[in-house]
């Protein structure tokens, strides 16, 4: 009954998303996607609202959200750069690429630059093994990473 204004705001925006997607078969994942799109992450305050609406327990929602790495608990930077660290890319030198990128951006994996420009994340296979090492910037895949491409990426996220 006595919710904080901020969470009331989250609750009402969450409720609207749930309303829209509730009719789907297996609506939990689409709803979580919708929420991540709306807020840029999945706010903790949204979970009880989802649980109540779908008539499942808070624990179940928590279990699902934490299972998928793509659901963020905190907002990401303006850009999200995912660097593949799976076997094929590793064999093509992704470790070195990662080290270089971390140095260029000044952040490690799972970190966001101080200016909020970019979040760096490892990913385990983009299905782009033929063009390894690969990455994904804001949803667009980039193959055959080399120093030149890294500079381009850094320039783009800094712009």
């Amino acid at each position: 009954m006595t919710m904080q204004p901020a969470s009331t705001e989250i609750a009402s925006r969450t409720a609207a998303i749930i309303q829209e997607l509730k009719g789907l078969e297996g609506p939990l994942l689409p709803i979580l996607h919708g929420i991540q799109e709306e807020f840029g992450h999945v706010p903790q305050d949204a979970l009880p609202v989802i649980a109540e609406a779908l008539n499942i327990s808070k624990a179940e929602v928590h279990g699902v959200v934490t299972f998928y790495h793509d659901y963020r608990s905190h907002p990401a930077g303006r850009h999200v750069l995912k660097l593949c660290q799976a076997e094929a890319c590793q064999s093509m030198g992704s470790d070195a690429i990662a080290a270089k990128l971390k140095q260029l951006l000044g952040i490690g994996f799972h970190e966001t630059a101080r200016d909020g420009s970019v979040t760096l994340e490892p990913v385990y296979c983009l299905g782009l093994c033929a063009c390894a090492p690969s990455a994904m910037l804001d949803g667009a895949v980039i193959g055959r990473l080399d120093d030149e491409k890294l500079d381009e990426i850094v320039a783009e996220v800094r712009s």
Binding site: N55, I56, S57, A59, H62, G63, T66, F67, H69
Partner: protein, 958 residues
């Protein structure tokens, strides 16, 4: 004696009729189709190694220890998830399997502490056992690197390590010992149905998480303990086991809380109770428990328990501890003096629904044989007396028609005025399991109780009727069934009187019983009533479960009759999955009624006016019995105020707190000259007592309890009575002191007398119970194995009787001064007047009674959540704190009655059921307003209670 060992078959039993034969390690075994290889193998006596499997939950296949090889199949399938097939040839122990298992176990142990010697589960750890089973001799991986075991890795903080969660008062969660087998998560989901646990994260990050990474106490956990029982390691451990150590022997007994009557193994170390573990063979609970039965037994050793008899001249004097002999002689002399002075009928007694059948039988025998009158009553008066009357009239027996297993065949569950998830939690879990499998649910309740909507359960129809309108609404359901032609004509013609049905049908079809009219006065949507009626009549097997929300009304008996009518009209009596089922409040309320606790009935519900019945007892007891019914509790109190009733023996009931209109009860008790309270604690009634006889707990005596499904369960002594005597011995000594020649050596002899004199118990004996585990009465020549389901080929009374159920609104009405309706109930963690549960750590969940009020009504009165409010009715007033919630409808407020300092019954009125005097607890017109603190009455009461509990320091010790 040793521990009672139960075999864990690994996966649940299959219910298939078809049998399948296979070979396991060269042995042939035949099992029902659908059985897992693991279970089949266990049936053959071969235990396949396992960690994530246990037969309380479905197979999961995650631990990879139970792998087997099957001729003609590739790979090594897990035996828990692979069903048997005809002619299958299974090998459970091959070189390949041995290697795999040892490898898997090595990985488990590489992330598990090696502190076995100091671990609470030492000796009862499946991980330890399985490590031994697979022959693990070495862990090659070492303990460096990532782990969940150590707080620090090489001096640096280990962020994967998590501290123990000790927030629950009864068990701890130690994540460092967790092997993530998910047994706890699955037990919470499948067995308890709360879904409070999950596995968070994935891979090496996977952890068991209560709620959303919360502490157990802050999560949705209801502390039923199923997870603790399921845990194969020390991750979830009872604090009592941590403190005391592993038990060395166990005794199967019956829980002494609600009417579900769960069977438990009391696991002991010497005479110290280590823990209560629900017994898988218990037919009422099938291996499940709730927070009360499993954990809330601490009251038996609470410091406030009284262990010595006490007497005093006046209730304003302090108590004086005396010997048993002095207390009993004093009591006998007083009772005889009062009878000499005021007449034979000036004394009486109250039997207890908390005590055993045998003890109850003795108390009524003492009154009938010793006091020579029928002034005996029991607390069922204030709960299920209308059930006795209503079902007796319509069906011919004063009891529920089904066993609890029946729910597994039910298609439509109708719950009326009952809150099973709080008051009958173990049965609620079984009910929820059935609902998750697709059964439909209809709930009639003024409140939106948890069963109406909680994780994975949702009622198709919730009729939030106004308190006091049960009869109208249930009759409206019948109206729809009759006018829309949904009744079961074949059933009615065969089992009931067709003319009576037609008379009833013409009555319910009257326009004033239509949902449209009734909906108005009950504040329910008529379409919901119609929908519910159609669903119940056409949805398959329909079962009605009801509670005190039905009986505790001025028309309680009428509602019970209306329910019986509904069941008969739809043909829902006499087979599995259907029936009319009162959810009994107390462990032995069924039994205490069976044992002749009512002033008009001898044991077995036989009226005292029947010469043949009296003959049986007169020839056995050697006295002439009174053929006139005696006084009911309210009559005793009235007579006391009038000056004609002067002495009372109360065994195990706190009438001052539990009975309505507290001031009247207090006045009645104050007017008596000898009030004898026989109880564990100085309860509220004891404030007005002259003699206190200390009682014994269910752990300290032998006997039987009869649960809501008429099941007679053994109660077994696991320790000597701390007060020196079991309750039956106290009553016997009192009888002997009063000159009666009783000489029972053991409660089994009392049961023999009951069986000899009561036809429905004729075949019951302790030997027979030992053999059968438990039986449901009637148990006699006609039904040698007892009667799980009643009225199978016809009603006990002959033809089922339809009776008109005219709705008469209660005289208790709202008006300008008292505009809200108060209704009362229970909460999960507390039990009734709370004498026991308040003296356990269950107070963590419910430390005070709160007044639930709708936000709308609260706003009108300027009340905020947690504010102190004054609750006023025509009878009295009290204060408590508000809890603002939309679980109650506008115009309705609700509170519990677990705490004596709230005394909700100061508020309730003396209106009662027309047939049985069952008080109308569930409807009181009240006003609610802001308050600064306790009412004057509460302050006075508190003062008086404190004074009357003084015990004089011993002068001359015995």
């Amino acid at each position: 004696m040793g521990l009672v060992q139960e075999i864990d078959y690994g996966t649940p039993a299959s219910t298939s009729e078809k049998q399948v034969t296979l070979t396991v390690d060269g042995f042939t075994v035949t099992v029902p189709e659908g059985t897992s290889i693991m279970r089949a193998s266990m049936e053959a006596g071969i235990a396949i190694p396992k960690l994530c499997a246990t037969d309380m939950v479905d197979a999961f296949g995650s631990c990879r220890l139970c792998l087997v090889e099957i001729d003609g199949r590739n790979g090594t399938p897990s035996s828990c998830t692979t069903p048997v097939a005809p002619g299958m040839v299974v090998h459970t122990q091959t070189g390949r399997l041995k290697d795999i298992r040892r490898g898997v176990m090595e990985l488990y142990i590489s992330d598990h502490p090696l502190d076995c010697l100091t671990c609470a589960a030492n000796g009862d750890c499946e991980l330890q056992t399985q490590a031994g089973v697979v022959g693990l001799r070495d862990v090659r991986y070492g303990y460096e690197g990532d782990n969940h075991v150590f707080k620090k890795n090489d001096g640096a903080e280990n962020f994967k390590w998590m501290a123990k969660d000790e927030s629950n008062p009864y068990f701890t969660y130690d994540p460092s010992k967790c092997i993530v087998c998910s047994r706890c998560v699955r037990a919470c989901e499948e067995v308890q149905g709360t879904f409070a646990l999950t596995i968070e994260g994935r891979g090496f990050e996977s952890r068991v998480s209560p709620g959303m990474h919360q502490l157990f106490i802050d999560s949705e956990c209801v502390s039923c303990g199923a997870c603790v029982q399921a845990c194969p390691t020390a991750t979830l451990s009872e604090k009592s086991v941590i403190k005391i150590g592993q038990p060395e022997h166990s005794v199967v007994t019956t829980c002494a809380y609600c009417g579900v009557g769960c069977s438990f193994k009391a696991e002991m170390r010497g005479d110290e109770l280590v823990r209560m573990v629900p017994y898988k063979d218990g037919k009422a609970n099938r291996g499940h428990s709730c927070v009360k039965g499993r954990f809330a037994y601490g009251y038996s050793t609470h410091k406030e328990r009284i262990l010595n008899p006490m007497i005093r001249e006046k209730v304003t004097d302090p108590w004086r501890e005396v010997s048993w002999e002095e207390a009993l002689t004093h009591t006998a002399n007083e009772f005889r003096r009062i009878q000499y002075q005021y007449g034979r009928t000036s004394i009486g007694g109250i039997t207890s629904s908390r005590c055993t059948n045998e003890e109850t039988y003795l108390v009524q025998k003492l009154i009938r044989q010793g006091f020579r009158n029928n002034n005996v009553d029991t607390c069922a008066r204030v709960c299920h007396s209308p059930t006795g009357y209503g079902l007796g009239q319509t069906f011919g027996t004063s009891a529920g028609t089904q066993d609890f297993d029946s729910i597994e065949k039910t298609d439509v569950v109708m719950i009326i005025g009952a809150n099973p998830t709080d008051a009958h939690p173990v049965f609620a879990s079984r009910m929820k399991k059935r609902l998750r499998k697709g059964a439909k649910l209809i709930v009639l309740d003024p409140r939106r109780t948890d069963i109406v909507r909680s994780a994975h359960i949702e009622a198709q129809h919730h009729l939030p009727l106004k308190p006091g309108t049960n009869v109208a609404v249930v009759t409206a359901l019948a109206h729809v069934i009759v006018t829309e032609g949904l009744f079961d004509e074949a059933f009615i013609r065969e089992r009931c009187d067709w003319d009576e049905f037609q008379d009833w049908a013409s009555f319910v079809a009257l326009p004033e019983n239509s949902p449209e009219v009734v909906g108005q006065l009950a504040s329910v949507d008529p379409e919901e009533i119609r929908g519910a009626a159609r669903l119940f009549a056409t949805g398959g097997n329909g079962a009605i479960y009801y509670g005190l929300g039905v009986t505790e009304h001025s028309q309680g008996s009428t509602t019970v009759i209306a329910i019986a009518n509904l069941a008969m009209a739809t043909g829902n009596v006499g087979r599995p999955g259907v029936g009319v089922n009162p959810l009994r409040g107390q462990n032995n309320v069924q039994g205490s009624c069976d044992m002749g606790s009512f002033p008009h009935e001898l044991p077995g519900y036989r009226h005292v006016s029947g010469d043949a019945v009296r003959d049986i007892y007169e020839s056995l007891w050697g006295v002439k019995l009174d053929d006139e019914p005696g006084l009911r509790i309210p009559n005793m109190l009235d007579a006391a105020v009038d000056g004609s009733f002067k002495g009372l023996y109360v065994q195990g009931e706190d009438i001052l707190q539990s009975d309505p209109d507290t001031k009247h009860v207090a006045a009645g008790l104050a007017a008596m000259e000898c009030v004898v309270v026989h109880d564990l604690f100085l309860n509220e009634t004891a404030n007005y007592a002259h003699v206190f006889l200390p009682g014994s707990t269910f752990l300290e005596k032998d006997g039987t309890f009869t649960n809501a499904e008429r099941r007679i369960n053994r109660v077994r002594k696991v320790m000597a009575p701390k007060n020196g005597l079991a309750d039956w011995e106290v009553t016997q000594k009192l009888a002997q002191t009063m000159g009666l020649a009783w000489n029972y050596q053991h409660p089994s002899e009392i049961m023999d007398e009951i069986a000899k004199t009561t036809p429905s118990f004729a075949s019951v004996s302790y030997d027979y119970l030992e053999k059968m585990g438990s039986v449901q009465w009637p148990c006699n020549e006609k039904a040698p194995e007892g009667t799980p389901i009643m009225h199978i080929s016809g009603f006990v009374r002959g033809k089922g009787k339809f009776i008109r159920t005219e709705y008469v609104a209660t005289d208790e009405r709202t008006g300008p001064r008292f505009p809200l309706l108060l209704t009362t109930g229970r909460i999960l963690s507390q039990y009734n007047v709370g004498a026991q549960t308040r003296r356990t750590d269950n107070i963590m969940w419910h430390s005070e009674d709160r007044l639930e009020i709708h936000p709308h009504d609260a706003e009108n009165r300027g009340l905020r959540d947690g504010d102190w409010v004054r609750l006023t009715s025509r009878s009295g007033e009290t204060t408590l704190r508000a809890l603002i919630t939309d679980k109650v409808s506008p115009g309705v407020v609700y509170t519990t009655f677990h705490h004596p300092d709230t005394q909700a019954n100061v508020i309730t009125t003396d209106f009662s059921d027309w047939a049985t005097n069952c008080p109308e607890y569930k409807v009181t017109a009240v006003q609610v307003g802001a308050s600064n603190g306790p009412s004057e009455w509460q302050i006075d009461y508190d003062e008086q209670a404190r004074n009357s509990r003084r015990i004089a320091t011993l002068e001359a010790a015995e």
